[in-house]
């Protein structure tokens, strides 16, 4: 009987000791397993963050590259415009003056001089036009709103197409570098409508709200969205919109009419 009691006590002691050992060892194993799982989760999170950072850096880099390319394009245009205006334009004007003097002093008939004068006048006008297109001085002096209006009027006077300009809201000042990008997009859109779509009516609507929205619609022959454009015009417009942190959408109601919408944040 006594021996049985001793055996029971020993067995209970063994059970108790084993339970403690079991709890500690199992907990240790579970902590190890859990640690591995959490490490994987943590590592994955870190990796994703790093990848996102990398993607963001790449986008920023591309943006900066695009900005630099557009900036250098603009400064090159400025230089060419200045050269044309101050160099070629001034020389042509001087030639015209000399020609008039020559006609007065020498025995040269008016019939001979007049066609040359006309040709010179046309050349001077062409140089001025090219110079104005390259460097929109109105934009520099009076801002985007006036420059867009003036551009529409100029296109209207040069072509047979009807170009209307509507503006809603109060025009807000933007950085000049941003204004020129918007100007170039609208210029390209009107050019495309006249040159490729053979539009007879173009409407430019500018809306100054929380953000600047410009909608250009035309009644031209439109385009199929399935056909990849050959030129760089559309690509350049999209790039400019991206630099502006804006959106650019172009839809065509094939077979006629195109609608382009540019949205640019003002802040």
């Amino acid at each position: 009987m006594r021996l049985l009691c001793i055996l029971v006590v020993v067995e209970q002691q063994a059970l108790s000791d084993f339970t403690v050992l079991f709890i500690f060892a199992t907990s240790g194993m579970l902590i190890l397993a859990g640690g591995i799982v959490f490490f994987v989760l943590f590592y994955k999170k870190r990796m994703l963050e790093a990848r996102l950072r990398e993607q963001h850096m790449e986008v920023t880099y591309q943006q900066k590259m695009m900005e630099a390319a557009l900036e250098s394009q603009e400064s090159e245009r400025k230089r060419v415009a200045a050269d044309l205006h101050d160099g070629v334009g001034a020389m042509l004007s001087a030639i015209r003056m000399n020609l008039s003097t020559l006609a007065r002093t020498e025995s040269v008939s008016t019939e001979t001089v007049q066609p040359v004068k006309t040709m010179l006048d046309e050349t001077i006008e062409s140089v001025r036009k090219i110079s104005r297109d390259l460097l929109p001085s109105t934009l520099e002096k009076f801002g985007l709103s006036v420059a867009l209006k003036e551009m529409c009027e100029r296109f209207q006077s040069l072509t047979e197409a009807g170009i209307t300009f509507n503006e809603e809201g109060e025009a807000m000042a933007m950085e000049k570098s941003r204004e020129i990008l918007v100007f170039r997009i609208v210029q390209e859109l009107i050019n495309n409508a006249l040159k490729h779509a053979q539009a007879t009516a173009i409407a430019v609507r500018v809306n100054w709200g929380e953000q600047l929205e410009i909608v250009v619609t035309d009644d031209g022959k439109g385009f199929s969205p399935d056909i990849q454009p050959k030129g760089l015009g559309l690509f350049n417009m999209q790039n400019r919109a991206r630099v502006l942190h804006g959106t650019f959408n172009i839809t065509s109601n094939n077979p006629s009419g195109t609608k382009a919408t540019l949205t640019v944040p003002l802040t």
């Binding site: 084993f18 079991f22 199992t26 194993m29 579970l30 397993a33 591995i36 799982v37 994987v40 590592y43």
Partner: protein, 221 residues
């Protein structure tokens, strides 16, 4: 409620959740990836063996040993299906062959410790595979959220379950031979823990089912 009642309850729980795995992995069976199909067979095997051991051939430890062997093979084949790395697959083949040799040797050369030995072998092998799979996963991280990735849950379940029962497997013979009675608590713990394990596996199967249904609806749209 006695400890024995708790043990019986835990057995029913485990039996029930293996049914959940069969359901979550069996629906849309033909469209499931191979590893989910393997999980489906794992659920069926567990269900059949649970039924056999508790209703037909009660307390037949050799039958449970056969289940241990099958479980190791099934889970190894699951890892073989998901690992696209040659090295990882070679490791699985070598591991399984070693286990088969070890399993046979245990019966032949140290039958006294066979119950503990084959379980410890299984636990170590599966812990090794799951840790290796996690390492493999670190190199081949999926783009999607890891918590929505079924294999992450399966692997987590495997590593946590087999680590948790490792001590129990190691001391199995000691518990049976020395502690004899009053050990129902350990087996109940094992079964309840197994219930959680099967639940996680069922969740992984359900996650995969959701992604298949989402793909189907995308295609129909």
């Amino acid at each position: 409620m006695t400890k024995l009642d708790v043990l019986i309850l835990s057995v029913y729980f485990q039996w029930f959740v293996s049914l959940a795995v069969i359901l979550s992995c069996g629906l849309n069976y033909y469209k499931r990836p191979r590893y989910v199909k393997v999980l489906f067979f794992y659920g069926i095997t567990s269900f059949i063996f649970s039924t056999l051991t508790h209703y037909v051939i009660s307390r037949d430890n050799y039958l449970i040993n056969a289940y241990v062997f099958l479980e190791t093979l099934i889970l190894s084949s699951l890892y073989y299906q998901v690992g696209n790395s040659v090295l990882f697959r070679r490791m699985i083949i070598v591991g399984v062959i070693s286990y088969v040799i070890f399993y046979s040797s245990a019966y032949l050369y140290f039958p006294t410790y066979v119950f503990s030995a084959i379980r410890v072998g299984r636990d170590l092998l599966l812990i090794l595979f799951s840790v290796s799979y996690f390492i493999y996963l670190l190199y081949q991280l999926p783009e999607e959220d890891l918590l929505k990735f079924p294999m992450f849950w399966i692997n987590t379940a495997v590593i946590c379950f087999f680590s948790g029962i490792f001590v129990l497997s190691y001391f199995r013979d000691y518990i049976v031979l020395v502690l004899k009675d009053d050990t129902a608590g350990f087996w109940a713990f094992r079964n309840f823990y197994g219930t959680a394990y099967w639940l996680v596996l069922a969740y992984a199967g359900w996650l995969n089912l959701q992604s298949i249904r989402a793909q189907k609806s995308d295609l129909s749209h």
